[in-house]
Amino acid sequence: MNALAAGHHPGFLSPTGVEITFVLVGLATLGAAVLTVSTRQLVHAALWLVVALGGLAVEYLLLTAEFIAWVQVLIYVGSVVVLLLFGLMLTKAPIGRSPDADSGNRPVALGVAVAAAATLVWVVVDAFRTTWIDLHGVVQGSSRATGVSLFRHWVLPFEALSVLLLAALVGAIVLSRREEK
């Protein structure tokens, strides 16, 4: 927004250090993500997922969204992956290759993934085509800025999400309760 108001459009041909870092971290994240779905070892997939999610957090940091970055690490790396690993250990994921990890759905999954990626890339590119974040001005992703925009402009989606999560929580408790006989 700020950059737009200034009428200043940096070109693609003289990238700054941050932009180069952003692209490199992005490539590493993409590589880790591809390895997550292509590795034959179950636990390695979970660990590559850690790398991919961590790379995503670094990308948020480079975009000055510090709060989002740490929440990403806290929720996804700290909780979701731990839950995944817990499940894998409970089912005694073997060390080495799991030949039965592949199902016949591979081509379908690939198609869905490519379609989803294409849609997301198209939407993001179309929405933010000429928007540049001014890295040297006021930090646009600070916790204060995030909080203000969340609770001033996006209160309704926020509340809708909390209701959804509450419903999921209640549902999980109902499903996991044993029937008294």
Binding site: V43, E66, L74, G78, S143
Partner: protein, 320 residues
């Protein structure tokens, strides 16, 4: 240029703290435990009351052979100690010691940074537990994961209560906003935070994941030499980080008489006192059973943390 030197000096300072303080806590544990049990503890290494015992231990660990079990997943097995240790080094960067920018790096969302990165450290234990290809290690890893999931929530809620009270997520900002009546006001949250932190570090009485009488040493059973020493170091670095954080969040950090001059000394003194409590608990409490552990987290700590958040919110609204 000056900025670069400043950053380098700060990072060097953090590294020195990271290398020295865990050893101090370890040595204190040797001596305090010994005296509480009517023993003397290490007396010979270094001459004066065995002060160099941990240096000698370090040399011993470095000499031992680094064994990787034949069936283990080599890469994951060897990476695990680094994953367990490095997060605590990163966390130390954000903990403020004294007023006027006496901190490695002032982060805007410092509170979230420390909690997020501390959670990553536990991945090291999980990796170790799975990659060792040992039943005891696997059981230890499972218990670690279950414990982390149960105790992460109360810890976060208690920390959120302090952030609400201070109106900021920055750690120096939280200490700056501190008043003496915060300690009684946030007392329940502080106890919950400290207890949940102990559980996250797997310190007694929450050391079910490494319970030596039933699963040898949990996820670390197969480790030898330096890698084993790194896991131990991670535990003691974790104690330093947890005590430092509790000091900063709930005990007012550098606040105290003559805070302008010797504020950093107050932070260190409070941290040391809490570290003593950690050791004291190890000597005096029996280990909780797995079901007791889970029950304690879900039925005691989480309701208490929620009550603390409600109290914080009410007081905040009434006084503002």
């Amino acid at each position: 240029m000056n900025g670069t030197i400043d950053v380098l000096l700060r990072l060097l300072g953090v590294l020195v703290v990271f290398l020295v303080f865990p050893l101090l806590v370890g040595q204190t544990e040797h001596k305090v435990m010994a005296h509480m049990q009517g023993r003397l503890g290490p007396m010979y290494a270094g001459g004066f009351h065995g002060w160099a015992q941990l240096v000698a231990d370090g040399v011993k660990f470095a000499q031992k052979e680094d064994v990787v079990p034949a069936d283990a997943d080599r890469t994951v097995f060897q990476l695990a100690p680094a994953v367990a240790l490095l997060p605590y080094l990163l966390v130390l960067v954000a903990i403020p010691v004294g007023p006027h920018g006496f901190v490695g790096q002032n982060l805007d969302a410092g509170l979230f940074f420390v909690l997020a990165v501390m959670g990553v450290g536990v991945l090291g234990s999980l990796m170790a537990g799975w990659a060792s290809s040992n039943k005891y290690s696997l059981l230890g890893g499972l218990r670690t994961a279950a414990q982390l999931m149960a105790y992460e929530l109360p810890m976060l809620l208690a920390a959120a209560s302090v952030a609400m009270a201070a109106g900021t997520l920055s750690l120096p900002g939280i200490v700056g906003a501190y008043h003496w009546w915060w300690t009684p006001w946030q007392l329940v949250g502080g106890v919950v935070f400290f207890t949940a932190g102990l559980a996250e570090l797997q310190r007694p009485p929450f050391d079910m994941p490494v319970a030596d009488s039933e699963i040898i040493f949990g996820a670390y059973t197969e480790y030898t030499g330096l890698r084993f020493a790194l896991f131990l170091l991670a535990e003691y670095a974790g104690i330093v980080v947890l005590c430092g954080l509790t000091t900063v969040l709930f005990l007012g950090g550098w606040h105290g008489p003559w805070a302008g001059g010797v504020g950093w000394l107050w932070t260190l003194a409070k941290t040391a006192l809490l570290a003593f409590v950690v050791i004291w608990l190890r000597v005096s409490y029996p280990r909780l059973r797995e079901d007791q552990l889970q029950k304690f987290a879900w039925t005691v700590l989480i309701p208490l943390a929620l009550a603390q958040i409600a109290l914080t919110g009410v007081v905040k609204v009434v006084t503002s």
